[in-house]
Symmetry: D2
Subunit: 414 residues, 4 copies
């Protein structure tokens, strides 16, 4: 590191960015060999730009993991803005990186052939930072496809790299942390709102209304049979999420990732995302899906670039390049796969179990005055109805009472 003084005295653009090092790190091997190939310069710069951004992604992912890992195990809500902003930043970086292949594709295969010999055994498969990103996001070691029958870790020999890889695997991944957080979603407690029970009832009612009844009314026996089969298929789909054991079978197979309880949390957030308190959790789940989706696009664009450069021949570093990379564009490599498939378990709005007033309050963002007002309302309502009964949204205390108490009309911000 440069001799940088905290007060920044004498700091210039160039010394701050350490351009003497960054811009002095391009050694064109074909030039060293005395047969310069123009396009190798682009090849180096592009990969260095990738690695710089990978460093930034790791920095953001680490900071997000750190926020989730606070000792009280409770997510400090003043930090959710940070998490969302940083995930959004990671998403924008990944979008840039996926597009960046277009630049590398201006290198033609014939040019690449001219200098690839100088690269010897160097290969993109050796990017440590990319492995760290995968591991820290939560890529499952078991689902990785072997490369030349070789484990990806084998290419890293120096102690520092090995230690960094080990740490990326032993410390909790973003996936694990999100899973834990989802498991604590309010509303899942059996003693209170008991979302899961309500959800199952609602689903069954929907399936009966929309598939069974329709099938039963059908008079044509052939069509009836088809419709009964469809009904059964729907039932089976939902059974796979209702039944913890069936869910576990799918997890063991790699078709699902999240624990049964975390899946419940994700569904709860998706169904009640309009409740103020779920706005940001919902945004967070969307960003995780975006990131997974962009990782897939990155892999996909990478493969297409490789196919152009080397066809089906052997890749640099001895890998079977194209075939290996192609196999990584699969649902196995999606960390947040369950968030993509969540849509299969949603319910039409009419069937979504209504919130109880207690739950409604928990998911509200209320001012002190509003809470007080709500309590009064609630106690009153208690005398005539059961507290666990769904309340009619349109008459919910939150909005009702508001106008009555407010004395300073000027401050009803939201």
């Amino acid at each position: 590191m440069e001799e940088m003084k905290p007060n920044g005295a004498g700091l210039t653009y160039s010394s701050y960015l350490q351009l003497n090092k960054v811009l002095d790190s391009q050694t064109v091997m074909s030039e060293v060999a005395g047969r310069p190939v123009h396009d190798e310069h682009l090849f180096i710069i592009t990969h260095q730009a990738y690695e710089l951004w990978f460093k930034q992604i790791l920095f953001e992912v680490d900071s997000i993991r750190h926020i989730f890992m606070n000792p009280s195990k409770t997510l400090d809500e003043s930090k959710t803005l940070n998490i969302i902003n940083r995930l959004n930043r990671v998403q924008l970086i990944l979008k840039l990186l996926a597009d960046q292949f277009q630049i590398l594709e201006t290198m033609t295969p014939l040019d690449f052939l001219e200098f690839r010999g100088y690269l010897a055994t160097a290969s993109g498969f050796q990017s440590l930072q990319f492995r760290l990103i995968e591991n820290k996001l939560g890529m499952n070691e078991e689902y990785r496809i072997k490369y030349n029958q070789q484990h990806y870790k084998r290419v890293f020999n120096d102690p520092q790299s090995i230690a960094m890889l080990e740490d990326s695997l032993s410390s909790p991944s973003l996936f694990k942390l999100v899973e834990g957080w989802l498991e604590r979603t309010p509303g899942l407690e059996k003693s209170e709102f008991n979302f899961w029970m309500k959800y199952q009832k609602a689903v069954n009612r929907w399936i009966e209304d929309c598939w069974l009844t329709v099938a039963q009314k059908e008079e044509d026996p052939v069509k009836k049979e088809t419709k009964m089969l469809e009904y059964q298929k729907q039932k089976d789909t939902f059974e796979s999420i209702f039944d913890p054991e069936k869910h576990q079978v799918l997890v063991d197979r790699g078709d699902r990732r999240l624990s049964h309880k975390a899946s419940q949390g994700a569904l709860m957030i998706s169904l009640y995302r309009d409740e103020p308190r779920f706005h940001q959790p919902f945004h967070l789940l969307t960003l995780l899906t975006d990131i997974d989706s962009l990782m897939t696009k990155w892999r996909s664009n990478h493969v297409m670039m490789v196919q152009r450069m080397i066809g089906s021949k052997v890749g640099t570093g001895g890998s079977s390049g194209y075939q290996y990379l192609r196999s990584t564009i699969s649902d196995r490599y999606k960390v947040f796969l369950d968030l993509f498939n969540l849509s299969a378990f949603l319910l039409p709005r009419d069937y979504i179990p209504p919130l109880t007033s207690a739950m409604k309050r928990t998911l509200s963002i209320l001012s002190h005055e509003q809470i007080a007002e709500l309590d009064a309302d609630f106690e009153q309502s208690q005398s005539s109805s059961d507290s666990d009964e769904p309340i009619n949204d349109k008459n919910s205390g939150a909005n009702n009472g508001q106008e009555a108490v407010r004395t300073d009309a000027d401050t009803d911000f939201f």
Copy 2:
């Protein structure tokens, strides 16, 4: 409209999208004239795609304005997710539209010259939807630059267009609605947190610490004078926002747009954006800035495309094309200009006035139990300190009490 039945019986992809109409609306004028020019087809399709997306933008902006305009004048917080999602969608559409000029630029000037004669007086200046978007966002009529010494409204003659334009000007714009909402930002009330008084004190302290003291310590008389000038410049900058009359002068000049009170609200949200309740308002302000920024990019890309096509010559429809369009890329055409300039009035974190415990609570998102706990804490603290005194963030009741009360560790979601 097609004979579409609500049950959608017999609906196909083609009938649903009314492709018989949409794909039968391309009449290539040069072909009608018997001298077909290949590139006119692209010219038509590109403009139709713009208009389709303009329709979508208007649909979203109208729906957002509608949410802000609810009768109670209070923004229903369960709707902020909708506002944010829709603004985000508008932003993505504008990004696409700004990029779309690249496609139109594949038309070359010589091709355009071949068919522009057939367009007669037709001109992009006549896009009704673009004017509606500008007006509904809140473009100020007075700041519009005249086009050939002509008011933009003069080109619309049919009663329907005139009515739509009138409505876009008479009903509250997004700008006006956001301004009203910002004026109600909690914390501005003089009788309570009194943000504005605290902010001014803090700014003055910062300016003295960082500019005045530094200048006074300077021994070299020439440097001292420079530093004193810098100090004065800082003071003047802030004076322009402190003093409502100076602010009004800038508003009258068109250098600022928001009311003095709304500016206070925007600053309050920016400084305390980490408070849970300000997360979404802050996100909303960011999206408005993004949209303004993209409108500018759209104008800017448009101008560059026009410059390529017609140089400094007369545009279609008799406009002085390039010159007029060029003049619209100015801060005068930025609706949310104040949000861009907000950064000039921020304070380093150390100088930001600490929240009182009451304000902290108002800006929190707390569960029922947490509120109760906080109240107890608060009452206790009351005995020894004034309620309006800033509380130390790190010992804030919110986090402190949390662990103590919580009994169901499994559900501490956030």
Copy 3:
């Protein structure tokens, strides 16, 4: 069509673009059903924008096919600029369309679930224009994956659609036209340059130099065997392109598409792309690869969007949506697959067979004076060397003679 007069009298922006039709084609079915869902509007607009651009792509592809199909079967070289510009335009449109899914992804699955019931049997599978694009580019009917065990043509019932589909299959596809053009690449004639014979010799020399010799020198018997295996693998790879019968086996399997002769043409262009006359053909091949690559990205982004919206459930129109679409992201759906794999058959520059002076001239772009000069040079050189002998590039007559003849230094443009 509107009553448009060739002189465009009275034409306005709105009447020219037929906005009365285009902007009146959005019937929100959920609204018709009395239960409006906000996001359906976006769903309609996005699909209509896709279809508008599909129409433009078809317009460009048809015009390109038309240029290739001129009666003399010779490509008019004054038209290659048009072909390249139009392919480039198609590429930019496809890039936009691949990005456009980002906008549709702002629709959430829960919203989609709210209105998908109204769409009944309508499905994206029914997009006629998309099928026409696939067919006109040259998608092979045999490689199409069935959708619900159903042929894609079955969804089109009206005579006009059926006729358009039939025509898209019976008239020569862009693939077929490019194939024919590649077969006529200068240099392939056995009686003249005889590229194919020279290429095979050169490849064999390269394989011997770089694999066989290396293997033979190896002393360690284990390593020797590995190296001999690698040598054999290289030999086999090239054998598959040398031997017309082996090539045909791969074509029959669907692993290759181009005729044996067209493959030779594509290789010739790739290896000698620096010769002036091959600049544009090389650019053309690159653009075809780009377009194929973007079609794959479009399919890939489409699948990812569908996965978000419906998970693994049944798609609208009864398709098994995600699974079907996923299967189309495969090399089978790449029309110009051979251009991607071409890189497997390239040679390092040192091994590329040198051009004869006759061939060099054929591939040059020479002014009249230069040709005359070259002829003189050539006749002179004839006396001492065989005309078919490679000439040293650096002393090629073209550049040599140039300076000598030129009298008007001011006009040596290139």
Copy 4:
């Protein structure tokens, strides 16, 4: 530089890319100062990524200038593919860099305020590479706007930077080289095709047909006057390019850049771009326009980012930031301004002077046989018509004779 051996023995991905240096160049100053600000890391990485790509742009621009500067002063036509590919690459990089500001914009002003103090006098104004790019493209020193009344060179003090800047100004810029090349465009020679004389005649005929005649026929005296004024305006516009002195006045003012002769060349290429030999020159001019356009977008996005970060306050390094940067988004900073404005001087196809057969041949790409054939045709035609007479395109010898001579139908490639 690392100890890299030409044979690349032991080279790994990491050592090849010198990641030990590149990834060890991020010193977060706020962290050094003991008060780490999260977003400073992004700030560093983004700027380093910019500088890496700037290095690549310089590498490409230098190589293109080198091709133009070959000693014979004749552009080797086998190199135009290289020039076009490299300009295209520069264009893609600039597109990426313009988009990259979106990532930096995720840093909020409040975060920036937290660490900008540590940057002391470091400022983006000190980017040497950006100045080199501007100079090597051909930015005119005189048109640069002063920054704090200071010349941009004053910030560079070390001998190496000064030497690099001097070199960037003293060696021929891309602009100068392109200008020289345009001046040699075939067709400009007075003794031969004499484009400029023909062009002036054609323009005059067009103006008379389309403006004068129309004005003269007008009976309404008021309208007549308006139309006469329009006629005069058109005449004046073209006069400014016809008359070398008037052109020079505009050059002196900075409203034009290219020499009078180079402007003629650019117009010639634009009007006859369909002639095979002008395909690539036309592509080249388009790419130069694209690059200028993207430099403007880069500046424009930069300004917008700065406005968000610092509002109208003082920038880092003491610059008046926003105001200065804003002033650089002007036609003064467009290097290839004349190429944008070229469209003002185009002619409808019917008025474009037809090529003589000699000129047609010069602009053709013909095989040896075709040239021979053409010569025969030409001599024959000479007996009955003047060689300088325009020949009817449809009967041009080039296409006419073709079929007659060709014996090997299989090889008429184009």
